[in-house]
Symmetry: C2
């Protein structure tokens, strides 16, 4: 029995969306699902108890950051990431591929791996597929991701092809090095915005037979229609019985569009990052709480929301907290934004069960007047 299995419950008749359940050593979660990001072994500003209260089923943490601080050996000694951060539910770790790639001048890519300097102290390190597997096995999440080579947008065809093919070779090396029975290793599809490269990537990776597939290298600057096209090219080629995870995507519209195209899992720092700047999701799009218009507004952030924040606090109070630099302010907006996306995914699942997903999507857009968030 694999460490992580995907149970397909229902395929939508009118779209590629699907309802399912992901079974992991730390419990099961219904899909499609949004995963809050806990970069440094904590979802910024949240406690594990609060994550449970808003029904966060599975969370993500970042291999690169944990390797830099506090180090994977320390987390191994702590009994793994679940024990270290006191999170009892499922965890997925990324591979650090995207992070070391994003270091720009601080990194050098070769067939062996990526040499980079720490963003904290400038010390030199080498990530190889084998090294990343060692780290992710020490961290001990339920789901580990293979070490991949990301490309930025725009990137030319030749470079994108080379990086994609290297990603396949690295996926093979990761699989050979991975040796942890209670942990699943997911592959990552690359290929930029080129349909034939995406197809080639999928075909090479599924021949290696992974228990799940990430779709990487999207939401990196390309226009959204291009991202949707890539999903339409990629997802139908993936095996029906395995979960599909669109990496780094988490605005409400992208979640709806991803689900419609057959995605089961999402993650993104967006909801927590904008929350700490005082921007929150509301039914009508977004709200910037510092704005003067909310000074004497004693209504909740979102009139339709029943999260802890909206049940107890007013816009005027939260604005006061941001104006005075109080920590409770960003705690309350973070709770709200995560709850908003988690409830959106719950609504999506309920409408998939009731065969009304596309109608729900339309209804959602009717209210949702915001610019890109």
């Amino acid at each position: 029995m694999a460490a992580v299995t995907y149970e397909l419950i229902k395929e939508d008749a009118k779209s590629s969306a699907r309802l399912g359940r992901l079974h992991t050593p730390h419990g099961s979660v219904d899909t499609p699902v949004f995963m809050p990001v806990g970069t440094q072994a904590t979802v910024k500003a949240m406690s594990p108890q609060e994550l449970q209260e808003i029904d966060a089923g599975i969370i993500l943490s970042n291999t690169y950051h944990l390797y830099i601080r506090p180090g994977h050996e320390l987390i191994r000694k702590a009994g793994g990431l679940h024990s270290f951060m006191a999170w009892p539910g499922p965890i997925l770790t990324d591979s650090g591929g995207f992070q070391v790639f994003s270091l720009g001048d601080l990194r050098k890519i070769s067939e062996e791996g990526v040499e980079f300097r720490s963003h904290v102290d400038g010390s030199k390190h080498l990530f190889t597929p084998e090294k990343v597997m060692e780290i992710e096995m020490a961290l001990g999440p339920d789901i580990a991701m293979v070490f991949d080579e990301c490309v930025s947008y725009p990137a030319d065809y030749e470079y994108t092809k080379k990086a994609m093919e290297r990603t396949t070779r690295w996926a093979r090396r990761c699989k050979a090095a991975h040796d942890k029975k209670d942990q699943a290793l997911f592959a990552i599809v690359q290929g930029g915005v080129y349909k034939d490269l995406r197809e080639q990537s999928v075909q090479e990776l599924i021949s290696l037979d992974f228990p799940g597939y990430g779709i990487g290298g999207l939401s990196v600057g390309e226009p959204k229609p291009l991202m949707y096209e890539m999903l339409e090219t990629t997802v139908p080629l993936l095996p029906v019985g395995k979960p599909r995870y669109l990496m780094g995507v988490g605005s409400p519209d992208c979640l709806l569009e991803g689900v419609k195209r057959g995605i089961d899992m999402f993650d993104c720092v967006l909801p927590t990052r904008i929350a700490r700047n005082g921007t929150v999701f509301i039914k009508e799009g977004k709200l910037v709480i510092r704005n003067a218009q909310y000074k004497e507004d004693f209504t909740p952030l979102d009139h339709d929301c029943d999260c802890y924040t909206c049940r107890n606090f007013s816009r005027a109070y939260i604005r006061h907290l941001f104006n005075t630099g109080e920590i409770l302010g960003l705690r309350l907006t973070t709770i709200h934004n995560l709850y908003f996306l988690i409830r959106l995914m719950k609504d999506i699942r309920e409408h998939l069960a009731a065969d009304t997903f596309l109608e729900f999507r339309e209804e959602f857009y009717r209210n949702y007047l915001a610019d890109e968030i």
Copy 2:
């Protein structure tokens, strides 16, 4: 019936300590009690729900800060402080006397009141006893404090005497201006470190008959033995049936010594302030979580503690959170420090009930090896 009454339950046979209960429009709290400080209508880093979970019975908020931001009129419109900050329990507000006094060069004291400039934008303001009553009535706490004139330490006899006598005159003006049936107004004893001035202050104030008495102008730099002497001079003169509140005091040893001398209420920013710097109370004194010795220490902050922090997280994890600047770090230390003091007060009350208070105090000091915190 007064808005706030004190019920004396038991006087300790071997000290001046006493067990009691404070009844307010927002519920009753057992005394002696420590009040967490919510300067800007939030106890820094805590949510109201967490305050309830650690059994914080009554909290304090600061009139000066709320007057500056968001303004007392806004809080009045919000339905008062309880509603604005979503705190259902009792609240006490100080009078701003200590804060405007602390502004140094930014304030000018006259018989009329204190003219000062805002620490935020430099704008000019005047606090008179009447103005402060208007503000505190708008804020709507269960207990308001009179506007007093503080003196620093050291201060000469003549100046201290003048400030103390003015504090009495201002207390009379506050009483005349105060007109809110569901709010109690407490006086503040001044007189620096001069016994006869403290005695004079008490006598003048009790002749005005307030429902409770604060003891101000202590813990402002004087040696602790001097503070204890002032308590021994002051407290026995106060009416037995009224609560006594030692303002701005909150280290574990001062709480024990205050209780021993007959104090019922305390407040201090110390536990929350040092928590945010990574210093926590433990049975043995204090612990600085950033220290390298805790890097791989997978035990709780305090081995005897059952707060949320100590039940779930290790020193190594909390150290990691401080090292990486994560908000959860200072949330966890804040919860622990407040819980530590609230539990200490609970222990004190239990031992007062069991006639073992002095023995408990001795036992506490046997473990408590720290320097001054």
